[in-house]
């Protein structure tokens, strides 16, 4: 039961990631791409959690935490670059 749900979820998240990649490549504008990247990070968090559940280990949860932090900072930096140019000034 749970296994099926797990695999279904993995499939859905993977598909979601693929759709994000589609947007990322298609654009058309830079903000679209950054948004897609940001979403991809969030999808990656989900994938890491799913991996942890699949493996039954908590060893990868901190990776997910870091994904959240880094994804955010990356997005913010990119957005700031797009409108302001200098990320750190």
């Amino acid at each position: 039961m749970m296994t099926i749900a797990l695999y279904a979820t993995i499939a859905m998240v993977t598909l979601a990631a693929l759709l994000n990649v589609y947007r990322l490549i298609k654009g058309p504008d830079a903000p679209d791409r950054v948004l897609a990247l940001d979403t991809l990070y969030v999808n990656a968090i989900a994938l890491i959690i799913l991996l942890s559940i699949t493996l039954g280990t908590r060893m990868y949860l901190e990776s997910a935490l870091l994904l959240a932090v880094m994804g955010f900072v990356g997005t913010v930096a990119m957005a700031k670059y797009l409108k302001r140019g200098s990320v750190i000034e």
């Binding site: 493996l55 280990t57 060893m59």
Partner: protein, 122 residues
Amino acid sequence: MELVYALVIGALTASGVYLLLRARTFPVVMGLTLLSYGVNLFLFSSGRLSTGQQPIIGSTTAYSDPLPQALVLTAIVIGFAMTAFVVVLSLRNLADNNDDHVDGARPESATRGKQDEEVSDK
């Protein structure tokens, strides 16, 4: 799995090398980054691939080879330091030559925009 992994490394190497051979600093830096991704994955896999065998004693029954992981961790950090340096060097290049060509300012770059012009190999 091994084939997929090998293809990934091949793709990273190929695209990295292609960018390394470009004439502007920024693509070259990106090429170095891609190449180092490939290299890190390669070095990592020299201990072979495994799933869920993180080398944390007690967390699992079999462990993957921890040594390449430690090596790659070192390589990542060193690679970061080097990338940072080369990025800054590119900025210096830009500042000094008012151009981001890898060979500095070239007379030809006055006519920038002229496409399909061989700039660097004259």
